[in-house]
């Protein structure tokens, strides 16, 4: 591990220096004397787990938060960044994780919005020309007249980057830019970033994915619990070392897999079609099975029918055609309750919005889907004793960090909410587990715990349908991998025969 100064090498003043930045939020120090030095012409990765303080740090840089201590030095001069407007004036641009684009407007209109010097009439003429120039210069081609809704996610990301470049950003901050991209799209994003750094821009790139850091960054600063663990050159780094810096201990990458017992089919999906909530065809004749003791991973770029598939299987969305069978029992277009009673656990995609009732207690949330069955209900009445007893057991067994089962569930961190959901869903000894993005946004420890829980259930004979946008997760856990594209299964391949390149192509609808 090298210190920031050593890795800096030469004596040229850095383009940007965040010095001794401290930021406190109630009950937590988000940034504790963080120093980050960024040079012109480099891609600087900020690596850390969720809650390590990466986002807080760049929000301070972008003027969204004010630091409680420390200073920002730009080109050797101390500056104050009071707002994003100040930041843009100083040449600091940001591409947020969730894009701030107006879907009905065209690319050029979106870029012109709030741009200084835009004429009142025909405001987009000039911008359209500039967009085409910049697009050619950096390999960011987008049709300036296309409405944003017609663009793919990666094209929308390009628009956000162009927006920042057009405003003269010399330093570009990207917050988890690859979370919505296919591996190929990520590669082309990295190529764009390299072109930008070749032109003398600096890129700050926030991520928690180790492979990306190694592929895209020149230097890496690792944050843990609000502090800088170290800054090092990407060239001399490896996964194991970065993971240890991030988590503070060694991380096991390879999951131990043993043969599972149990046979027969946990889930049969036959020629299922369904509409999205906007009434468009979301699933077009999907067929596959999940055997007991098997994990089937579903890979795909977000929005290709994975969510609808999960909803149809769990009884939350009507199938317009086809059949769904759980353990041989036909549950097609049954409601969520019928599917639940057939023995299906559901770890929902949006755990905060769907998986828990934030205002109700941890104990009540632990029985959210089981309150109506014994022992939690007797006749029409709930049994608070049984509920509390069960909650205590689950809190211990699944290591849910909460001082009291009576506290509202929204007081839990994301990882603990997911532990709560797993405790609830797995306690019923399900025959089929439908897990949608079970580890998205979670830290490494929670992710490890969830992976081992799913594997243990597989060994115990449960079938698992795992939907994830994290290819590494799908590759690590699955026995077979299904790839979805535009509502269809592109392929269903044994995990042993799958690799990232091949899956990546399938995810974009190309058959290798």
């Amino acid at each position: 591990m090298t210190s920031a100064r050593d890795a800096a090498g030469g004596s040229t003043p850095p383009l940007l220096l965040l010095e001794d930045i401290t930021k406190r939020f109630p009950g937590v120090v988000a940034n504790d004397h963080v120093t980050l030095e960024v040079r012109a012409g480099e891609v600087h990765a900020l690596l850390g787990e969720n809650g390590a303080g990466k986002t807080t740090l760049v929000k301070i840089l972008y003027g969204i938060h004010q630091p409680d201590g420390g200073r920002i030095v730009l080109r050797g001069r101390p500056v104050r960044v009071r707002s994003p407007h100040d930041a843009l004036g100083l040449g600091i641009g940001m591409v947020p994780q969730h894009f701030l684009l107006i879907r009905r407007h065209t690319v050029a209109e979106n870029v012109s919005l709030g741009l200084a010097g835009t004429p009142a009439f025909f405001p987009t003429r000039q911008v359209e020309r500039r967009l085409i120039e910049l697009g050619a210069q950096y390999g960011l081609a987008v049709d300036p007249r296309a409405p944003v809704w017609s663009l793919s996610i990666s094209e929308q990301q390009r628009v956000e980057i162009l927006k920042a470049l057009l405003r003269g950003a010399a330093i570009l901050v990207l917050d988890e830019p690859t979370s919505v991209l296919t591996p190929q799209e990520a590669q082309s994003l990295f190529a764009v970033l390299r072109r930008m750094t070749a032109e003398g821009h600096a890129v700050i790139f926030i991520t928690h994915k180790l492979d990306e850091v190694l592929a895209a960054a020149d230097r890496i600063t690792v944050l843990r619990k609000g502090r800088v663990v170290g800054t090092l050159l990407a060239a001399g780094a490896d996964r194991r070392m970065l993971a240890r810096m991030m988590v503070g201990r060694d991380v096991e990458f390879r999951l131990s897999r043993i043969a599972a017992r149990g046979d027969g089919e946990a889930l049969q999906v036959e020629d299922v079609s369904a509409l999205s909530h906007r009434g468009l065809a979301a699933l077009r004749g999907v067929s596959f099975t999940v055997r007991r003791g098997e994990i089937v991973g579903v890979a795909g770029v977000a929005g290709n029918g994975q969510s609808e598939l999960v909803e149809v299987v769990t009884g939350l969305r009507r199938a317009t055609g086809g059949r769904v069978r759980v353990l041989g029992r036909d549950v097609t277009n049954g409601n969520a309750r019928a599917v639940l009673e057939a023995g299906v656990a559901h770890i929902p995609e949006e755990r905060m919005r769907t998986g828990i009732v934030g205002t109700m207690s941890v104990a009540e949330n632990l029985v959210l889907r089981r309150y109506r069955y014994a022992p939690f209900s007797r006749g029409l009445l709930l049994d608070p004793k049984a509920i509390t007893g069960f909650a205590q057991r689950m809190i211990t067994e699944y290591a849910i960090a909460t001082p009291d089962a009576r506290l509202p569930a929204h007081a839990l961190s994301g990882g603990n909410v997911q532990r709560l959901i797993l405790a609830r869903e797995l306690s019923g000894d399900p025959a089929l587990i439908v897990a949608a993005h079970p580890t998205s946004g979670l830290d490494i420890s929670a992710t490890e715990q969830i992976h081992s829980l799913l594997l243990r259930r597989r060994e115990g004979g449960a079938g698992v349908l795992l939907v994830s946008e994290d290819l590494d997760e799908v590759l690590a856990l699955s026995d077979r991998i299904a790839v979805m594209f535009e509502g269809q299964l592109m392929a269903l391949v044994p995990a042993a025969e799958a690799d990232r390149e091949r899956l990546g192509l399938l995810m974009t609808g190309q058959r290798p």
Binding site: P26, N335, T354, V357, G358, T359, M360, R369, H410, A411
Partner: protein
């Protein structure tokens, strides 16, 4: 967030102390705004409040009138708490009260129910009448996604005109010589009162029992669990396999029925006949919204908040008699309180801290 020297921080769950503080501040603000109205009416606000306090809180004879006003507010308020917990914005308690009153009147005057059974059957009929009136908007929402704020409000007008039509037309009392009343209820159809007051204690007990029952329903029963999940997070309710239709219908049966009982109390305990809708309910169905809002989702707290609104209603009488102000001043008062309460709602989720000068 910082506004001048004041620092605001979000908080997910407000503490009870903070809820009480904010509610008290909202009521004080409403009183301050009402002072402007007194002043513009030519009455010194200080004198007005002195008269009101002397006429209500410090007057032993005012207590029965406070309780008399509290009874319908308690019944309708408990029902509204339940509806609001399920996130069904029932603005229709007024109409449900009137339908309860109408159903009870039919039993009292036109049914062959034997005397000994009259009162219980009237309460039952009132409950059913209010519940039926409440179910219509619930069904409209379930079937056609009709916004219940509009439909429940409109159902109030239908109820008002229905009662008006009955008392001017088919049910107009032959003994009433031109007045738009029904005949007086027979003795057996009158709710006994505490002598010398207008407190029909049977209805009061019913209200308190209902508050306890609804609290129990929410806390200890499966149906209550479903109502809470449905109201707090409809997505999670779907995920948990809760049937939203069943939950909503149950809620509106209880909420409409409770308001119906309030209507029974008014016609059988106070007026002893069906009369002009504006006289049956002095806006209790609307004031009950404030009662429920102040109670913050707790059915038991309605006992206190309905008492508070009972005082407001009694002050209205004092203002009318002692200060010669129009009777509708109570509505203005109620409007200001609700306005300030809802306006201060966001404040509950912020912690306000004096941070001094930057």
């Amino acid at each position: 967030m910082r506004i001048g020297p004041v620092e605001l921080e979000r908080r997910p769950t407000p503490s009870w102390n903070w809820v009480l503080t904010v509610s008290a501040l909202a009521i004080l603000l409403a009183l301050a705004l009402a002072a402007v109205i007194f002043w513009s009416y030519g009455v010194s606000p200080l004198r007005a409040y002195a008269v009101i306090i002397r006429g209500t809180l410090l007057n032993a004879r005012a207590l029965p009138e406070i309780v008399r006003n509290m009874i319908p507010l308690l019944l309708a308020g408990v029902g509204l708490v339940l509806a609001f917990r399920a996130l069904f914005w029932n603005i229709g308690a007024e109409g449900q009260i009137l339908l309860g009153a109408t159903a009870a009147t039919w039993v009292a005057l036109f049914s062959p129910v034997p005397d000994g059974w009259k009162l219980p059957v009237m309460f039952l009929a009132g409950f059913i009448g209010g519940a039926a009136w409440g179910l219509i908007p619930a069904l409209l929402r379930l079937r056609f996604a009709v916004n219940e704020v509009i439909s429940t409000l409109m159902m109030n007008y239908i109820a008002v005109y229905l009662v008006s039509w009955l008392i001017h037309g088919p049910w107009k009392g032959p003994e009433m010589r031109g007045f738009a009343f029904t005949d007086a209820f027979p003795e057996a159809a009158q709710i006994p009162v505490i002598p010398g007051t207008r407190i029909h204690w049977l209805t009061l007990l019913l209200g308190i029992a209902l508050a306890i029952a609804v609290a129990f329903l929410l806390k200890r029963t499966r149906a209550g669990f479903e109502i809470r999940v449905q109201g707090e997070n409809a997505d999670a309710a779907r995920y948990a396999g809760i049937d939203p239709a069943r939950t909503l219908l149950l809620v509106m049966i209880v909420a409409g029925g409770a308001a119906g009982l309030a209507g029974v109390g008014e016609v059988a305990g106070i007026h002893r006949r069906l009369l002009d809708p504006n006289q049956i309910s002095l806006g209790f169905g609307y004031a009950a919204i404030i009662v429920a809002w102040l109670a913050r989702g707790s059915p038991l707290a309605v006992v206190l908040t309905s008492l508070f609104l009972g005082i407001v209603f009694a002050s209205g009488d004092v203002m009318r008699v002692a200060l010669q102000m129009p009777a509708r001043v109570t509505d203005v008062f109620n409007g200001l309180i609700l306005f300030c309460l809802i306006g201060s709602e966001r404040l509950l989720y912020w912690r306000v801290r004096w941070a001094g000068h930057p």
